[in-house]
Amino acid sequence: SGAAHRPWRLFGAMCLLRLPRITQPLEKEEEEMAALMAQIELEKSHYSDHEIRKLEEEKQLKRRKESLYDEDEAPGKTVIMAQDLEEKWEQKFLRFKAAPRITDADKSNDRTSLNRKLDSNLMLLVKQKIGNQELWLLPQVEWQPGETLRNTAERAMATFMGDHIQAKILGNAPYGIYKYKFPRAIRTEDNVGAKVFFFKAFLQSSDLSQAKLKADHLWVTKKELGDYLKSEYLKKVNQFLLD
């Protein structure tokens, strides 16, 4: 009799995520809620120092206009009025220009750059040759006995992206598993199929100046995964992706 268990080949795959840089635009209910909460907080809060100062100075101005007393108790104090400060700050704020939310890469739909879709997660997809087919997959590498699956995943990342990428894996447990059997032509006693274990890593720095080994890579969001991955594979991958 043969081996008690069917030997499967093990692969470790790495799902490299780039976290969103901007928050997503709020929906209608969220905006209404935010406005309501802001109003509640405003009405509940006390006056800050600046506002108290402003009110007092307004009262002083009124008194001076109505009753023309020359009672400037402290002429030296009110050189800079709170109102002037506010105007200065407003002008400074108007001069500030925020960076655009929709970048150039978005407009040209360049899927190889990291700068598009700044408000959602981006995943790395690589073209790999499996059997005799060239498929778009999450980067994977075969497991070698003696190393943990997490090390396999890290090695997969290193082979496709170069060494020393600042990516952080949070835990030792895999996030998902995809197993498939080889077509009958290739199946032998020892090689029934393969199991792919998925790990997740977060990209810490968005600076990928090091050259990549294989040029066929893409950064895609969860919705665009369907364009590239096969349906079974996609199902398993979608199970562990948050959006």
């Binding site: 901007i22 928050t23 949070l170 030792n172 977060f202």
Partner: protein, 174 residues
């Protein structure tokens, strides 16, 4: 007669002490002033569980931080993770002075307050920890800095104020 015939439960009457109920309630011990020292849990082993974990949120905006802390607390309740405490660290005030040297030296002041909220969690299994971290990370609001650490004695002591008079007296005694 009507004035004298009141139904006051006097000590000799059988209805004396009819309205008493405090003896029926459970005994309340007097409150202790001392804070008990924290307890530690197993960290490594087959059952991989983290001990006390502190999730610290800092920001300049008070409302954001408080709402985010509330959100994290409710999330943990929902996921049946035990929350030990959820407290606030004292706020730090920073004064920002701009020294513009274009001709006349001007000094514009700005006062920034940094607020910090801490949610302490116990019993986090290591298979679940990365998922929780990812959820919190992806729901972070703008301007809030998040850090997750293990609870240490130093963290515990940073909440307490030092008493210089007590220390002086102790030094004098010894």
């Amino acid at each position: 007669d009507a004035l004298l015939g009141c139904h006051r439960s006097y000590r000799s009457r059988p209805t004396h002490g009819i309205g008493k109920f405090k003896y029926l309630l459970p005994k309340e011990l007097p409150k202790r002033r001392k804070e008990k020292v924290q307890m530690k849990e197993i960290d490594a082993g087959t059952e991989y569980q983290y001990g006390d974990v502190n999730i610290q949120m800092t920001s300049y905006d008070l409302c954001l931080v408080e709402h985010f802390a509330q959100y994290v607390h409710r999330l943990c309740n929902r996921l049946s993770i035990r929350v030990n405490e959820s407290y606030a660290m004292p706020t730090k005030t920073n004064e920002v002075l701009f020294l513009e040297e274009r001709g006349s030296k001007m000094q514009l002041d700005a006062i920034l307050t940094t607020h910090q909220r801490v949610v302490q969690i116990r019993g986090l299994s290591s298979t679940f920890a990365p998922i929780l971290l990812e959820v919190i990370q992806s729901n972070q609001p703008e301007g809030v800095h998040l850090s997750v650490k293990q609870h240490t004695e130093a963290d515990f002591k940073s909440r307490l104020k030092s008493r210089p008079e007590l220390e002086e007296l102790r030094a004098q005694m010894s």
